[in-house]
Every structure is written in C-alpha cells, then in structure tokens.
Amino acid sequence: MPVYSARVLVSLRPSVLDPAGEATRAAAARLGVAGVSRLRIGKAVEVELEAPDAEAARTQLELLSDRLLANPVIENWTLELNADAAPGA
C-alpha cells in the first residue's frame, strides 16, 4: 500500500491564554530581538500513513487530528498532506 506523509500543526485557539508563548516572547526581548508583538507555541506532528489513496489517507488523518492529536476544546489543527505517495514496502 502507498505511504503518505503529512504534517499536522496544532495551535492553541486564539481565545486560550498561552503563558509559555508569553514567557518566550519576553525572552525574545531579552535576547535583543525587539518588536515581537505575538508569539504562540503549538506542535508540529509528522505522520506517515499507509492508505489505498490520498482521499482515504486524508480521512484517517483528519480523524487522528481531531480525536487525538488536538483537543478541539482548546486547540485548532491544520493538516498538510503530501498527495504524492511513496511506494509501500
């Protein structure tokens, strides 16, 4: 079966406070990088998945993103799917 690679980006919803991002923003100023007006920390999850075709891969990755990788109560996610599959083993 072909292997699809994808990246899922998980970010805190805009309404959710990101204290770690705020602390990092303060450190940026101490480094001497001025003018950082916004800094939010999320996660990037790299996934490789076997699926019969790109559509099936997308369906599975959406389920994975929505039900495990992100908690929709506090997080948003976006999926970047590389539609060019590598041949399976």
């Binding site: 805190l12 309404s15 959710v16 406070l17 990101d18 204290p19 770690a20 602390a23 495990l68 990788l69 908690n71 109560v73 506090i74």
Partner: protein
Amino acid sequence: MTLGVVVFPGSNCDRDVQWAAEGCLGIPTRFLWHEQRDLSGLDAVVIPGGFSYGDYLRCGAIARFAPVLEEVKAFAERGGPVLGICNGFQVLTEMGLLPGALTRNQHLHFLCEPAELVVEPGRCSWLQGYGHGQRVTFPIAHGEGRYQADPELLQRLEQNGQVVLRYARNPNGSVGDVAGLSNATGNVLGLMPHPERACDATTGSVDGRTLLASLLG
C-alpha cells in the same frame, strides 16, 4: 463498600488515595491496573493524580484510551460514583465525562500549596457532607490546572450548578475560579486539589475526609 483506584504508568497518588480511604477511613480499596477491565464488586472508582503515560501529547490524552477507562466510562454512565483528582480530572475531561479542558497555569509555575476552596455541593453525591458555601482547605500540586471553557459553556455549567468547587483566591487563572466540576447528574466529580492529602491529621488538614466518607452513606 469497595473503592477502585485506577493505576496508570506514571500515576503517583494512587497510594495516597489508598491510605486516605483505607488507612484513615476504613474503606477497602482495590487497585485497577490500566490494562484490566474488571470492575466487578466496586462501588466507586477514583482516577488519581500523577502523570499518566508521562502526560505525553496532552495531560490525559493517552490515558483516555486505556482499557480500564472504557469500563469506568460505562460505570459512570450507569450512575456509578467516579472521582478524578488532579491528573484524574484532566483524564475525565479528555474522556468527555466532564466538559472543558485543563491547560498550563497562568504564570507557568508548578503550584504546590494549600488552597482554600468554597464548596457548592449542588447535586454532587461526593460533596453532600459539606454545607452550602462551606470553606475547606485542600493542597494543590499542579502545573496544568487552569480550567478553560468558553463563556457559553461556563454559563451553562453555572446555571446547572455543576461548578461545585471554587478557589477562594484563584491561583492558576481558571475561568470562573473553577477548582472542581461535577457532571449534570452529580455522580462524577473532577477537581484539581487533592482531598486525599487532607485526610490524615499528621499532614495537616482533614477537610478531605468528608468527601471520601460520602461513600459510607
């Protein structure tokens, strides 16, 4: 009366709960390893504090898929009393037994200190021994205890009387000062503070005894 205490890899308050229930109150306990499914003979279940599965991904996110929790969920849906303490509260929200989520403390510090709480027992079976507006002190020990819910959800929870424990002085930025929540029917309680660490007089407060003693009727 037997109390089940769930044990995940990374749980670290399981024995505290056992001591509080069995050692201080005489309530027999049984540990439930995360891979097992047998809840027979149990009258209530506690999901204790700690760092289940290392809290990888998010606190409670991996624990949600533990075999034992499928049974705990069914037990709760049949009306069985379920208590989630600290990491257990985080697990209950990830499982969908309680709404909202718990996120990083407002000032990033891991907080380890006594916290004064205001109890509004409502329908919550675990809190019926406390008076309306009673103040109690339980220790808190968490880095990710800031309760998060959107304003509509919080308003609904307030109207339903599900916000059963509030911080007298909000330590972590939780919306609505929420320290503990019950489900709509009152049999499930999740709270960040540790009532099991307030049961033995040698460690200070015994305000938590009333909560666990609710099991004795």
